[in-house]
Structures are given as structure tokens and as C-alpha cells.
């Protein structure tokens, strides 16, 4: 915990440029109107119970409906049953309702909602509708870009339902959770922008927390990641997520991510 505080302080005090294309969270900003984004997330998550690594593949299509509204549709597949196959889907929508722009700065706020279906067996107390649970999530995001530092925070309410394939949500668990995130981003390269073909290298660090409603259960993860942007249009994100505090039964307390993304303007 002390190390994280030191790391965060270093972020604020060093001379930095920021990026808000966060890896584990979404910023309040939207993609351009009428553009389409393709995303392929590969997650290697430790299965805490079985002590093995489960692989998750999440292909996703993103659409900027207009300047304020964007929609994502995602498919979830994994090999957690020892056989790789389809596991579910997820729909995500984000509406930017506040935008205050200045030269090289902005403050934005957005509301979002996600609804998902998943067919996997549930044994964990953690609620994660973007991989493990059927259910929905609604939340708010605020992103501030000031003096070339980007900070984003979000909070959401998440509710799990019974999973598909008759995989019931355990009646002994609470099916409601509050999530909160805090993200920082730093542009490492290039030192100076000359053209759109320069490769950008960004470093991110994100804190991801959850509290289960009506239970004294919570976790806090730290997720550092590095991001490469090619031709100002394609992204490769490499991330690592690890629990630093927590007392709940989870599917996974650490994992790796490699994500490919391409934006079609």
C-alpha cells in the first residue's frame, strides 16, 4: 500500500504528459462520432481455486453513435471448463453529459450501463459481469485533464443475476456490489509530437475496488499497464492486475492482459 502511495505521488510530482485511454477502465470521453473500434482482449487470469491460469478471449466492437453516445458489444469465451468455448455476451453504453474543454485540458463526466449474460458456474463472492456473471451495472465516470495530467474516477452499482445454463447465483452470497476506480496515465514517448505516425508509449496505473453490499467483503486491485499506440490509430495494451487488499472469495486475484485495438475513423 505504501508503495502505491509513493508511486501515485511520483505521478503528480514528475513532469508528465497524460493519456486517458485507460486499459482497465473507460474514461468519460467518447470515441469520435460515427467511428468504429475493434478490440480483442486476451486475459490470462489465475484460477485461485484450481491454481491454474484460465484464458479469456473477448472480441468487442465499439461504435460512436454520436459525439455523446457510444455503444460496445462484446463476446466472452474462455477455457475455464478445460475446453475453450463461448461463455456469454455483454453490451455497454456510455453517455457523456458534461464536457468543459480548454486548450490542453478538459473535464468530462459520463454515465454508463452494462448488461451481460454468462453461462459459467459461480462459486466466487466477487461480482464481475464483464467475465463471470450475468447481470447489469450502472455508473458514473469523471475524467479531468489538467496541466497535462489525466485522472479518472468512477463509481458503479453492479447486480448479478443467475447465470445461464442453470448456474444459479449462490443464495448465501450478496448479489449487489459497489465498484470504484481511480486511474492515472502518463505519456512516456514521444518526447515531442511531430506527426501522427510516431509511436506513443503510455504508462498507466489504476486502482480497482469492489465492496459487496450487505457483507463486510471488499477487494482492492492495482493494475499497472503499458500501452503502445501506432499511427495514432491502433493500440496494444499490456497489463497486470493484482489484489493488494481483500477478504472475499474471488475467481482470480491476479492476471495478465494483452489487448489489441484498432479505430476506424
Amino acid at each position: 500500500m505504501k508503495n502505491i502511495v509513493v508511486l501515485c505521488l511520483l505521478f503528480f510530482t514528475s513532469k508528465i504528459k497524460a493519456q486517458e485511454l485507460f486499459v482497465y477502465t473507460e474514461p468519460a470521453s467518447n470515441m469520435p462520432a460515427k467511428s468504429v473500434g475493434l478490440r480483442l482482449s486476451n486475459n490470462w487470469m489465475n484460477d485461485d481455486k484450481a491454481n491454474r491460469i484460465n484464458y479469456f478471449l473477448l472480441p468487442e466492437i465499439m461504435w460512436g453513435v454520436n459525439k455523446n453516445l457510444m455503444l460496445h458489444a462484446e463476446m466472452i469465451a474462455s477455457d475455464r471448463t478445460r475446453k475453450f468455448g463461448y461463455e456469454g455476451w455483454s453490451l455497454y453504453g456510455k453517455y457523456r453529459f458534461l464536457s468543459k474543454d480548454g486548450v490542453h485540458n478538459h473535464f468530462r463526466m459520463a454515465a454508463y450501463a452494462r448488461v451481460s449474460s454468462n453461462n459459467s458456474h459461480i462459486h466466487q463472492e466477487e461480482i464481475e459481469i464483464n467475465a463471470n456473471n450475468s447481470g447489469y451495472e450502472v455508473g458514473l465516470i469523471a475524467t479531468k485533464l489538467i496541466n497535462k495530467v489525466a485522472i479518472s474516477a468512477s463509481s458503479s452499482f453492479e447486480k448479478a443475476n443467475n447465470n445461464a445454463n442453470n448456474n444459479k447465483f449462490p443464495i448465501t452470497h450478496s448479489n449487489k456490489a459497489i465498484n470504484y476506480t481511480l486511474s492515472f496515465g502518463k505519456l512516456m514517448l514521444p518526447k515531442s509530437y511531430d506527426n501522427y505516425k510516431q509511436t506513443n508509449v503510455n504508462f498507466m496505473i489504476e486502482l480497482l475496488g469492489q465492496s459487496i453490499v450487505d457483507r463486510n467483503k471488499a477487494y482492492l486491485d492495482v493494475a499497472p499497464s503499458i500501452q503502445f499506440i501506432f499511427n495514432s490509430q491502433s493500440r496494444i495494451d499490456i497489463g497486470y492486475r493484482k489484489q493488494i487488499a481483500g477478504n472475499m472469495i474471488r475467481m482470480s486475484s491476479f492476471g495478465y492482459l494483452i489487448r489489441l485495438e484498432h479505430l476506424i475513423f
Binding site: 504528459k17 497524460a18 493519456q19 486517458e20 485511454l21 470521453s29 467518447n30 470515441m31 469520435p32 462520432a33 460515427k34 467511428s35 454520436n66 459525439k67 457523456r96 464536457s99 468543459k100 474543454d101 480548454g102 486548450v103 490542453h104 485540458n105 478538459h106 485533464l145 497535462k148 505519456l187 515531442s192 509530437y193 511531430d194 506527426n195 501522427y196 510516431q198 506513443n200 499506440i229 495514432s232 490509430q233 479505430l263 475513423f265
Partner: protein, 180 residues
């Protein structure tokens, strides 16, 4: 060649006229090159834009207009806001020949009505940069400054109104407030 053309125009043309040739647009709300490229791509799709060169560091776009194609400043603003950002500055390079301007006067340039604010009475000749000062073409705090300079309702709405009655007007027609 361009100068000869210009000189010929000046000799032949007796009446006053003006035309837009290019613009410098600065966008706000971004730092990254991916965001800058989104605006570039969006501006590129505007029908009267011939070419664009961008300065990523300052978020500034030098926009060349197509010859003899009507220019619409709202289309430029929409391209920027559709990309997810805002216009901070729009300066339009305009070729004037014997055009008289004064405060709260209207002039027609290539199908657009311009309402001049905060200017001295003068006759314009040659290339001049005019700045559009309407809402959403400048930062909010700058808009508030200009707001104090006028009581005219048309500045609030960007549409012609009774306040513009001295000129031949069509009520609710788009009017761009500008200065030099």
C-alpha cells in the same frame, strides 16, 4: 501568378467583394495524437475542405478551402465537436477588396453573413484574418467578455433578429459574429 490574378481582380473589380481562402483552427480538450488525428479525419470529411496540415503540439489545423465552394463555419465546428472536442479559435483568412466595416455592421461574404464586433470603422483591402467569436467558436470565458461588449440579442443566438433591423435581414438566418 497569384499576384497577377489578384492585381487583375483589383483593377477590374469596381464593386467591393471578399472571399474566404483558408483558416487556422485551434481545438481544445485534447493532448494526445490519437485525439488530434480524430479531429483531422473529421475535418477532412467536410465538403469544402481542400487540405489540412496539423500541428499536434498546439492542436492547430491549417485548413485550405476549395476554390469556388461555399464555406460554412458551423460545419467546421461540428466536425470538431463530433470528434469529441471543442473549437478554441477559428481565424479565417479573407481576401477583401474595398469592403467597409464598422461595429454591428453586416457584410455578406461568399453566402455567409458576418456581423462585425469590436472593430474600428475602416475599409478593408487585401488579406485579413477575421476571428469568429460566436458561442462555441471561442472558450466560454472569452464569449462572456464579448457578451459584455454588446446588448444585441443576435450575439446570444447567432441568428438574425430585430436588433439587426438596420440591415436587410431575414429573421433567424445564421449570422456569424466576427472581429479583426
Amino acid at each position: 501568378m497569384k499576384n497577377i490574378f489578384l492585381a487583375s481582380l483589383l483593377l477590374i473589380q469596381v464593386n467591393s467583394f471578399a472571399q474566404f481562402t483558408n483558416a487556422d483552427l485551434q481545438a481544445s480538450g485534447l493532448t494526445c495524437s490519437m485525439c488530434s488525428k480524430a479531429i483531422y479525419k473529421s475535418l477532412e470529411k467536410v465538403s469544402f475542405v481542400e487540405s489540412i496540415t496539423s500541428d499536434i503540439k498546439t492542436s492547430t489545423y491549417k485548413i485550405q478551402f476549395k476554390k469556388d465552394v461555399a464555406v460554412n463555419f458551423d460545419d467546421l465546428k461540428k466536425a470538431v465537436t463530433d470528434a469529441g472536442f471543442s473549437v478554441a479559435v477559428l481565424k479565417v483568412n479573407t481576401l477583401f477588396n474595398n469592403v467597409k466595416i464598422e461595429n454591428d455592421s453586416h457584410i455578406q461574404i461568399a453566402g455567409n453573413t458576418l456581423h462585425f464586433m469590436n472593430v474600428k470603422q475602416q475599409t478593408l483591402n487585401g488579406y485579413k484574418m477575421i476571428t469568429i467569436v460566436d458561442k462555441n467558436f471561442i472558450p466560454t470565458k472569452d464569449f462572456k467578455k464579448y457578451e459584455k461588449l454588446t446588448t444585441l440579442k443576435c450575439y446570444q443566438t447567432g441568428k438574425m433578429d430585430n436588433c439587426c433591423s438596420k440591415a436587410a435581414i431575414t429573421k433567424s438566418e445564421r449570422i456569424y459574429h466576427s472581429t479583426i
